[in-house]
Amino acid sequence: MTTLALTPAPAPPAARFTDLLAAEWIKLRSLRSTYWALGAGALAVIGFNANAARVHTHDYPRYNPQMRSIAWELALRDAFTNGSALILILAAASIGAITVVGEYSTGLIRTTLAAVPDRRALMAAKVVVVTAVMTLYGAFVATASFASTQAILTTRHAAVSITHFGALRVVVASALLAPVCALAGMALGALIRHSASTMVAVTAVLLLVPGFITDRYRWTAAVRHAMPVNAWTRLTGIAYGQDPFTRVPRYGATVTGSWVVLGAWAVVSAVIVVVAVDRRDV
């Protein structure tokens, strides 16, 4: 401790948002659990996708001409499978939730807020860092999935290139699932502030509920289409409406609407994180 007299106190440096970004980045990268969660999630997602391509490659000789004619659809489906999407949603939402709940469940939030009383700026910084990291993560996982699945399918000449109709949309929509669901996890964490309950809520809101909502009626269809997982399904269903094997629902979802859904979940979640933490006692 300095033994210099207190006065005149040096004026504290101006508060900069970039300092908060750097601090949140240190917090994220200094936790071993971050690497475990990201690594295990990526392995599972890429692994399941690659396995789907492997199965299709194996079965390909037995496909009839009609199935072979829509091989590009299968190739895009393998590029990011439903199962992998569910895993990515759960992994991303958990990681997002932990960045908020981890502060509350450990009590660290009090230390953090004593250091940064400007709660809105603090949480905004956390939102920006998590969004950036998860966007890169989603981009990596989606690109790696596309590359590995198409590399496998190439052996049967059943692969598509990224320039193929719909291929980029599959990759981008899948990549965006990561930041959108991470933000949703953060918002639920900021509202619930308790580890186990937050995980239950994340699973229910993002994975269970969407599956139970029917698209038979106009209003339930609207709710159904407003869930991130369903928006992803619509965006990656490249042959939606043209596929001779699947029924088109009366109240269908649109591509534009589905992009908006992903964006809206991100924005609303970010606002909830900032406002909920700002308003409540800790």
């Binding site: 007299a5 504290p12 440096p13 917090k27 660290l108 009090r110 004593a114 006692d281």
Partner: protein, 304 residues
């Protein structure tokens, strides 16, 4: 300078803090004393803007703490040694905090050195820290920004005797530099050798705000212990003089309301033999117990 004015916090029907008003001046170590559940932690949290008051105000340096965009250079606080993420190393924990307040990384090394956590300990995950080590990390956090005001909630918990001595020296040093040092405790004995000034609360209300010496003198009525073979006669004589006499054992009395000199005089006058005549110095502990006796939230044996 800490100013608390008519501060009140209610949770439903429970009033944790009621109309609390006091000041804490710079240049002293001020003890914040009260039994468990008296409202000390609630008050400190309101000072830091962590919880909002139901009424009144709490300011540090004339401003509500939450007005500051960054806090570490204004107030250093150790509220609970457990308020860290166990998965991080002590160094990473401090580096993130320092970075958020644009405090240079070299300062992290300085405080780690100062609290005795430099080297291998700083690289260990906090999960593996003892309570004493966590207290040291908490103190390091409070010192990071070299703030003019420091708040410590029960900082001596879990420290070994050497650690307690170190903390006392540290607090005195900080106060000598002109800083405001506000330290809570539920143990008077801890504050006796640490604080110059005292704020004493019980059940959320102010009981005393004065120097340690004044508090000690005020709280306890001086007692004199008298030992005599002639208990009955002495009791009668002293009672006649207006003293309160309580038998202690079959040869000893505890007398309040008369000085030792006057008791000796009366005994001589009535030819009563005295075997012992001991004035009891006013003890801080006794003063504290007496003053807070009615305001203790949880008595032993109470269902909590």
């Amino acid at each position: 300078m800490i100013e608390v004015n008519e501060l009140t916090k209610r949770y439903g029907d429970t009033t944790a803090v009621r109309n609390l008003t006091f000041q804490v001046r710079p240049g002293h170590v001020t003890g914040f004393l009260g039994p468990n559940g008296a409202g000390k932690t609630t008050t400190l949290r309101m000072l830091l803007g962590l919880i909002g008051p139901t009424g009144g105000s709490a300011t540090i340096g004339g401003q509500p703490f939450r007005r500051h965009p960054r806090g570490l250079r204004h107030v250093g606080a150790l509220l609970d040694a457990g308020d860290v993420h166990g998965g991080r190393s002590a160094r990473a924990h401090l580096e993130a905090l320092a970075r958020s307040n644009r405090i240079p990384r070299s300062r992290v090394d300085e405080v780690l050195e100062e609290v005795g956590l430099a080297g291998a300990a700083a690289r260990r995950r906090v999960d593996g820290f003892s309570l004493g080590m966590r207290q040291r990390l908490g103190i390091a956090t409070a010192l990071l920004g070299e703030p003019p005001v420091l708040l410590f909630d029960e900082p001596l918990n879990g420290l070994d005797p050497e650690g307690v001595l170190w903390v006392r020296e540290l607090f005195r040093g900080l106060a000598a530099e002109g800083r405001t040092v506000f330290v809570s405790s539920h143990l008077m004995s801890e504050m006796e050798h640490t604080a110059d000034e005292l704020i004493v609360i019980g059940r959320g209300e102010l009981i005393a705000a004065e120097s340690v010496a004044a508090f000690a003198a005020r709280g306890t009525r001086p007692t004199v212990t008298v030992r005599t073979p002639d208990l009955a006669q002495l009791t009668a004589v002293l009672s006649e003089e207006g003293a309160a006499v309580a038998p202690y054992d079959d040869r000893t009395l505890k007398v309040t309301g008369l000085s030792a000199a006057r008791i000796g005089e009366l005994a001589l006058h009535h030819r009563i033999l005295l075997e012992e005549l001991t004035p009891q110095a006013a003890s801080l502990e006794a003063a504290f117990m007496e003053l807070t006796a009615e305001s203790t939230e949880f008595l032993a044996g109470d269902a909590r």
